[in-house]
Amino acid sequence: MTGARWAAIVLLAAVFLIALAANLFAPAPYAKQFRQDVNHSPTQAYPLGTDELGRDRLSRLLYGMRISLLLAPAAALLSTVLAAIVGGAGAYIGGVWERAIKVVIDLFLSLPWLFLLLTVRALLPLDIPAVTSVLVTFALLGALGWAASARIVAATVRDLRNAEFVLQARASGCPPLRLLLRHMLPNVKPILIAQFWISVPLFILTEANLGMLGLGVTEPLPSWGNLLRELENYGALSHRPWLWAPLISLLVVVSLFQFILSGEEYVS
C-alpha cells in the first residue's frame, strides 16, 4: 500500500470522525433558525454563514456529512451483499437459475429507479419521522442498486466455477458449502470489496441528486443532497464563495473513496 493511499485513508477517517462527532464541533443545532440572521456572511458565530432560513451552515454541513457518510456505506453494504447472494448463487448453481437471475438483473438495470423511488416515497405514510424517511431512502438505494454489481459477481463466479482448482476440489469430494466458503469466496472477495467502495460514493451522489429534486432526506434533517440545493442560486456563488463548501467537501470525500478504490482494484 502506497503512502498516498494511506494518507487518503487517514484523511477519510478524519472526515468520518469529525462527522460522527458533529454535535461536538457544530456551533448550533442544525435545525435552529436564526431568522434575524438570514443569509448571513461567515462570522465567528457562524463560520460558514447561515442559510436562507438563518440556520448555521457549518452545523448543517457536519450533520449532513454524518448522515450521508453513515448511511451511504450501509446502503453500499446492503447492495453488495444482495449482489453477492443473487449474482453469486445464480452463477454457482448455473443452468436455468443462472438464466433466470440474468433476466432479473437486466430487469433491475432497466428500471427507472428515480420514478420507482418517487413512487415508493409517495406510498409511504406521510407522518413518518424524518429519520425513518432517511433510513428508508438509503435502504431503497441499497435494495435497488445491487444489479450492476451482481452482474460482475456472476461473471466472476461463472469463471471460478469452471476453474481447474474448483473442478479438482469437487472431484476430490469437497462438499458444496466448503467449496463455496473456502475456495470460491476468497477469490470473489476482492470483487465484492471493490464493488462496495464503488457503491459508497455512488449512493452519496444519488442521495445528492434526490436532494436536488427536493426528495430524499426531508427537512429539517440536513444531507449533502439538500445542502447542495443552495448551489441552484448560482448567481450568488461568485460573491458568496462559502456556498461552495458542501460541494467541495463532497468532491473531496468522493475523490478519497476513488483514490482508495484504485488501490483496491490494483490489489485485486
Binding site: V38, E52, L126, A130, G214, L215, E219, E232, G235
Partner: protein, 555 residues
C-alpha cells in the same frame, strides 16, 4: 474706410451669426423631430418567453398559459378588463347596455374595423364567435362561464349591434368578454389566430423554439397623435421553461421583458441593475394551507375532530408567523395574507379585514378551549393524543419548501410536531382529490378572474375545488351554508354595491372560520429592459406587456 469696413464687417458678422443661429435652430429642430419620431417609430421585434409551446392557436380553446398569452396578444375582444384600472374598457364594443333583469346584454360595435386580412368586421362575426363559444360540443374553456347563464339567444341587430339573451342573469357578464377573441364568421370555432382583430397575428411557429407574432396592419386603434398602433413590428415568443436561462438571456439583451420572477432571481437582477428589476407590490397570487375535513377520509377520528374545530384552525393560523414567511421565504417580496381576496383586487377586497395576528399565547388559549393541553413540550388533545400532523406540498418549489420549514419551527413552539413532506405533484393530486389520505396541504392559488364569481368554484360547498371538503351534497356546516347563500346572492344581482356587501360577508365568514389558512400574497416581480419604451407593468397578467400596442423599442 477702415471704420466703414469695420461697420460693414460688423454687419457681416451679425449676418453670419444670424445665419449660424438659424442653421443651428434648423438642425436642432430636425434632430428633435427625428428624435421624437424615433421614440415611437414602428419597427423592432420584442422578445419575451413562454414556458412551453402553445397547445392551440384557437383563442376559444386556449387553456394553458402559453396559448392564453398568444390569445391576449392577437385577439380582438369586445370589452377589455383594463389591467391597470381593473375597470371594463370598450374595445370592439364602443358601449353596451344590460337590461333590468340582467339576462340580456346589447353591444354596439365599433364601426370601420377590419380583420388583419382586410375583411370587414361585422355583427355576424360576433354572433358566429359567441355561438361557437357557447357550443357544448366544442367544450370551449372560454365559453364555460357564459354557459352558466343557460341557453342563450344571440342575434345581430343590423351590422353594428348584437344582443345576447340568457336564461338566467350572469353578474359581471361584461368581464367575460375579455376572454373571447372575435374571429371571422367563416373561421368561428376553428380559428388559428392568423386572421385577427388584435394588434398581432400568428406569423410563424417553430416547435420547441419560438412563436413569431407579426404586426396587424389593419389594427383599429390609434395613439393620441393619430398614429397607427401597435408600434412594434413583431413579437418573438421564445419557448423556454428554465427561469435561470430566461434571466441569462435577459442580461444578454436577447429577451426584453420577464413576468413572474422568483424572489431569488429578482434579487440577483436587482443587485446588478436596479432599474430593470421591478417589484410591483402584492399580486393576486397567494399561498395557503388547508386541513383535510373530508368525512370519508381515512384519517383517525381524533384528527378529524381537530381539523373540524374552528378553534384548532384559528390557533394554528395564529401560531404561524406570516411576517417571517414573507420576509424569509420571499425575501420581503410578499405580504401577510388577509384572506381569500388579495389587496391587489381593488374592487372586491374587503378593506375592513386584517391579517391574522401572530400570537402564540392566544393560540394556546384557543386550543385550551377545545381541551388541548401542554404535557412538557408536547401538546396533547383532551384524550391524550399528542398533536402531530403532516403537511404536504409539491416538491421542487423552493419558497413553499422554505415556508414548510418555517411553519414547522413555528408550530414546534406550541408543542405541535409537524412532518413536512414535499411530494411529486401527481401524488398530491391523488391524495387531495381521490384518496383524501392527507392531514394538511399547502399550495398556491392565482385568482385570474377578479370577479367574485371566479371564486365560486372554491367557495360553494358543492364545488369540486372546495378543497377542505369538496363536492358536498348539502353544506356540512352552518357557516358553509351561509357562504353558499351570500355567494349565490352576489351572483344573482347586478347592483355592484349589493354584490360587494354580499361578497364582503363571504370574506368575513372565511376569515372567521379559516377553512383555508391564507399565508402570504406574493408580490408581482418583473424585469423590464431599458430598451423597452412605454412599459408600465401591472400586477395582473400579462404583467409587463398588458399594453402591448404602446410598447416600442429604443434603438
Amino acid at each position: 474706410m477702415r471704420s466703414g469696413d469695420r461697420v460693414i464687417g460688423a454687419s457681416g458678422e451679425v449676418r453670419m451669426c444670424v445665419s449660424i443661429f438659424t442653421c443651428t435652430l434648423l438642425i436642432l429642430s430636425m434632430v428633435l423631430f427625428c428624435g421624437c419620431n424615433r421614440s415611437v417609430q414602428n419597427g423592432g421585434e420584442l422578445r419575451v418567453t413562454i414556458k412551453s409551446d402553445p397547445k392551440t392557436f384557437n383563442p376559444l380553446m386556449a387553456e394553458d398559459d402559453s396559448s392564453d398569452i398568444v390569445r391576449y396578444l392577437t385577439g380582438g375582444v369586445l370589452i377589455r378588463v383594463n389591467r391597470k384600472t381593473q375597470e371594463n374598457d370598450p374595445e370592439l364594443a364602443t358601449h353596451w347596455t344590460i337590461d333590468e333583469n340582467g339576462r340580456r346584454i346589447t353591444l354596439n360595435l365599433r364601426p370601420g374595423v377590419k380583420f388583419s386580412d382586410s375583411t370587414d368586421f361585422t355583427a355576424d362575426d360576433v354572433v358566429a364567435t359567441l355561438k361557437a363559444a357557447l357550443d357544448p360540443s366544442l367544450h370551449s374553456p372560454k365559453g364555460d362561464p357564459l354557459r352558466a347563464g343557460g341557453a342563450a339567444t344571440i342575434q345581430a341587430q343590423g351590422k353594428d349591434k348584437v344582443s345576447i339573451e340568457f336564461e338566467r342573469p350572469i353578474a359581471g357578464i361584461e368581464r367575460l368578454f375579455d376572454e373571447i377573441a372575435i374571429s371571422p364568421a367563416r373561421m368561428a370555432g376553428k380559428a388559428d389566430s392568423s386572421v385577427v382583430l388584435g394588434p398581432f397575428s400568428v406569423g410563424e411557429q417553430k416547435a420547441g423554439e419560438y412563436v413569431l407574432l407579426k404586426r396587424n396592419p389593419q389594427y383599429w386603434r390609434k395613439d393620441n397623435s393619430g398614429r397607427q398602433l401597435p408600434y412594434l413590428n413583431a413579437i418573438r415568443l421564445y419557448v423556454l421553461s428554465n427561469r435561470d436561462t430566461e434571466l441569462i438571456r435577459f442580461r444578454q439583451g436577447d429577451v426584453q421583458l420577464i413576468n413572474g420572477l422568483s424572489p431569488d432571481l429578482y434579487e440577483q437582477l436587482h443587485s446588478e441593475d436596479a432599474s430593470a428589476a421591478r417589484d410591483l407590490g402584492p399580486s393576486v397570487e397567494s399561498e395557503q394551507l388547508w386541513f383535510n375535513e373530508v368525512p370519508r377520509s381515512p384519517l383517525p377520528e381524533h384528527k378529524k375532530a381537530w381539523f373540524r374545530s374552528r378553534n384548532f384552525r384559528r390557533a394554528i393560523s395564529m401560531a404561524i408567523n406570516r411576517a417571517d414567511l414573507a420576509r424569509v421565504a420571499f425575501r420581503g417580496h410578499a405580504i401577510p395574507s388577509v384572506g381569500m381576496v388579495s389587496s391587489a383586487n381593488r374592487i372586491w377586497f374587503a378593506t375592513n379585514l386584517k391579517p391574522p395576528s401572530y400570537d402564540l399565547n392566544a393560540a394556546l388559549e384557543l386550543l385550551k378551549q377545545d381541551g388541548f393541553h401542554k404535557d412538557g413540550d408536547v401538546l396533547k388533545d383532551k384524550t391524550g393524543n399528542p398533536v402531530a400532523f403532516s403537511l404536504i406540498t409539491n416538491a421542487g418549489n423552493k419558497q413553499r419548501e422554505q415556508m414548510g420549514s418555517l411553519i414547522q419551527q413555528d408550530l414546534q413552539q406550541i408543542g405541535i410536531k409537524l412532518s413536512f413532506v414535499p411530494l411529486d405533484f401527481p401524488s398530491i393530486a391523488e391524495r387531495i382529490t381521490k384518496t383524501y389520505d392527507y392531514d394538511a396541504c399547502m399550495l398556491g392559488l392565482t385568482n385570474v378572474d377578479l370577479d367574485p364569481n371566479g371564486q365560486a368554484n372554491v367557495w360553494l360547498s358543492s364545488a369540486d375545488l372546495h378543497q377542505w371538503n369538496p363536492a358536498q351534497k348539502t353544506p356540512a356546516t352552518p357557516w358553509e351554508a351561509e357562504i353558499d347563500k351570500y355567494m349565490n346572492e352576489q351572483a344573482s344581482t347586478l347592483d355592484r354595491d349589493k354584490r360587494k356587501a354580499a361578497f364582503d360577508r363571504v370574506q368575513e365568514i372565511a376569515a372567521d372560520q379559516e377553512p383555508m389558512l391564507y399565508l402570504v400574497d406574493k408580490n408581482a416581480l418583473v424585469a423590464v429592459s431599458p430598451k423597452v419604451k412605454n412599459a408600465d407593468p401591472v400586477v395582473l397578467t400579462p404583467q409587463t406587456y398588458w399594453n402591448i400596442e404602446y410598447l416600442s423599442l429604443r434603438e
